[in-house]
């Protein structure tokens, strides 16, 4: 009966009871009913766009890699023929490489004796077997070993015919001189040697080492990191692993008619704590200086929420029990109940975490030498997913929790951020560089959603410390001593 009365009382209490609704609520409902197009259409599909970006970069890399392979294969064929040809054909033009048939024709014309025939067959053997072949221009002085294997087949000598092509057809030693020397084997050799010296402009190199150096100097057409005489071509694919302490700048502004006092109060309850980010990036070199990077990174912004409530009252009920013996001899138990009230303040502290997983798409320009490099970077950071955990003040100045599942204030995807940075790289090992990269990340959109009564945004300044591993350090080798 008592319960029924109680239930009835509760029900009736709420029958016509109205609670005040916050000022900006109607605006928010209207906003939600008539959503405006914000920015460009693609702004909304962050996840899809991120994946599209990564797919585009991977496809472009594969196409470029394949293209490089094709170029190197075609250049090998040119390379294997031209050095010897130029020794004998003064009018050779770098852009009109003669075929092997033409070459044979020339050789048979110029060298009737056995000596020259053997040189020709050496070249032919070298071409057919694709094995390292020694083309002795001169037995003593010009012994350059040239790899023409299928594996090691790129352009080291590519520039050679072009350089040779620069030689004037009307040199001191011309076709006529060569023709005149045809009669004697020794004279022919001397003439041939002199022709070679003039043609490839290596007259000052008299030993193998010097010749190799000379050949090295001819490599002015390599575009993707030039090889040295004894070292492979520079790598073009790197893996960067980094971690950064971050400093954040928070911006809060009014979204739906809440008063400024609330924003100030909210802001005063939250203070910055050291944040961090970590991740990895794959970078591909284009040309000598440009790198495109992409990967994945995790960022965490830390904040301390500290809320102090004044005039907190704590009441303690104290019951004192004592016995008293009356004059009549009766013993009575007396219970005194007293209430103690303490007035003070209460501080509630929570550590808020704003986490995100992002895909960086960055272009860098680097310069310097192998030991020390500097670079500038710019790009975008596409957010894949964001989640938050912690507490903040609500419009009625009460701390409320927000978390991955229940939080409705924050977005699950915070969109695009703009990235810019400056990096310094120091060689730390054969295939490792250490780098430091101060950077700034500007987030274009808010981390709060449309329903929130305020807009909140973070911009991040950080310093990436990391290691760059050269992934394909042994790419190619052209010369062998």
């Amino acid at each position: 009966m008592i319960d029924r009365l109680f239930d009835k009382f509760i029900k009736e209490s709420f029958n016509n009871y109205s609670m005040p609704v916050s000022e900006g609520m109607w605006d928010r409902i209207q906003k939600e009913n008539n959503p405006k197009i914000e920015g460009a259409f693609w702004w909304k599909n962050y996840g899809f766009i991120s994946l599209l970006g990564v797919a585009a970069i991977i496809t472009a890399s594969i196409i470029l890699l394949n293209k490089n392979k094709e170029t190197s294969t075609s250049k090998t064929q040119e390379t294997s023929v031209t050095p010897n040809l130029n020794l004998q054909n003064q009018s050779f033009n770098s852009k009109q490489y003669p075929s092997i048939a033409e070459y044979n024709k020339t050789v048979s014309k110029l060298s009737p004796d056995n000596n020259k025939t053997s040189t020709k067959s050496k070249v032919e053997n070298g071409l057919s077997s694709n094995s390292p072949a020694a083309y002795n221009i001169n037995d003593k002085d010009y012994s350059a070993e040239i790899y023409t294997t299928k594996k090691h087949n790129k352009l080291s000598i590519t520039s050679l015919p072009i350089n040779l092509g620069n030689s004037e057809p009307d040199n001191d030693i011309s076709k006529t001189t060569l023709a005149a020397a045809e009669g004697s084997s020794s004279t022919y050799k001397t003439v041939l040697l002199a022709t070679a010296r003039q043609d490839i402009n290596l007259s000052e190199y008299t030993t193998n080492d010097q010749l190799i150096k000379g050949l090295k100097t001819l490599n002015f057409f390599c575009s993707d990191g030039c090889p040295s005489a004894h070292e492979p071509i520079k790598n073009n694919l790197n893996l960067e692993i980094y971690v950064s302490p971050d400093y954040t700048r928070k911006t809060i502004n009014n979204s739906a008619g809440v008063n400024e006092t609330f924003l100030k109060r909210k802001d005063s309850t939250e203070s910055k704590r050291l944040s961090f980010s970590a991740g990895f990036r794959l970078s591909k070199t284009f040309g000598n200086n440009i790198l495109l990077k992409t990967g994945m990174q995790y960022s965490q912004i830390n904040e301390k929420f500290s809320y102090r409530t004044e005039n907190e009252r704590k009441q303690t009920t104290l019951i004192t029990i004592r016995k008293e013996i009356l004059a009549t001899g009766d013993t009575i138990i007396i219970r005194d109940t007293s209430l103690i009230e303490q007035i003070g303040y209460r501080v509630k502290t929570t550590f808020n975490r704003y986490r995100s997983i992002d895909i960086p798409l960055i272009a860098s320009y680097e310069w310097g030498n192998d030991n020390l490099k500097a670079g500038v970077s710019a790009g975008v950071i596409l957010n894949l997913y964001s989640w938050q955990k912690g507490e903040s003040l609500d419009t009625s100045y009460v701390p409320v929790a927000f978390n991955k599942n229940g939080g409705r204030t924050f977005k699950r995807n915070i969109g695009v951020g703009l990235f810019t940075g400056f990096s310094v790289l120091k060689k730390a090992g054969k295939s490792t560089d250490f780098f430091a990269e101060p950077y700034f990340r500007y987030n274009v959109s808010n981390i709060t959603n449309n329903r929130s009564v305020f807009n909140q945004k973070f911009d991040v300044t950080g310093l990436n410390f990391g290691l760059r591993y050269k992934l394909n350090t042994q790419r190619q080798r052209y010369f062998n001593r």
């Binding site: 109680f6 509760i10 016509n16 609670m19 609704v21 609520m25 599942n405 229940g406 409705r408 329903r451």
Partner: protein
């Protein structure tokens, strides 16, 4: 205007089902968006306020189901009150009761609201919340008792 006429009452419902004001505002906002979305479906049969109420309650329940609340038993209820005499709560206002309802554990609060205020039977509550009718019953008894205890305490302090 529809919003002005019913906003206060609907907010009260939202507050009864939520644990704080922010959550209540979320339910309220979502509820009113749905109201405007489906207003053309109202067939002018029965009370309009009842229709609004139903949408708001459904939105609140949808929000509850997302949270996967546990209908745990709270064992610290001292059974010394034995119900409250009517004079004990006659001077309590709706706002005071709302505060006390907020202090109830989530499972208690939902069942209490659905049964006492909305008038659902335990079988209906069991279907809505996907629990056993017996659980609903026990949650209600305990919610009621806890609420009565709280009112009792309040009375003591007032005295």
């Amino acid at each position: 205007m529809l919003y002005k006429a019913y906003a206060g009452k609907m907010m009260t419902i939202c507050l009864r089902y939520s644990k704080d004001k922010m959550e209540a505002e979320d339910i309220f906002q979502e509820g009113f968006i749905r109201i405007f979305q489906y207003i053309h479906q109202f067939k002018f049969e029965g009370s309009f306020e009842g229709w609004l109420r139903r949408i708001i309650v459904n939105t609140a329940l949808k929000n509850v189901s997302k949270k996967r609340i546990s209908f745990a038993e709270v064992n610290d209820l001292d059974d010394h009150s034995g119900g409250l005499p009517p004079y004990a709560y006659s001077n309590l206002g709706a706002e005071d009761i709302l505060k006390l309802i907020h202090q109830l554990p989530e499972g208690y609060r939902i069942v209490f609201n659905l049964h006492i205020i909305e008038g659902f039977t335990h079988e209906e509550i069991a279907k809505i919340l996907k629990i056993q009718p017996a659980t609903s019953r026990s949650q209600l008894v305990k919610a009621r008792k806890m609420l009565q205890n709280q009112i009792n305490e309040l009375q003591k302090i007032a005295v």
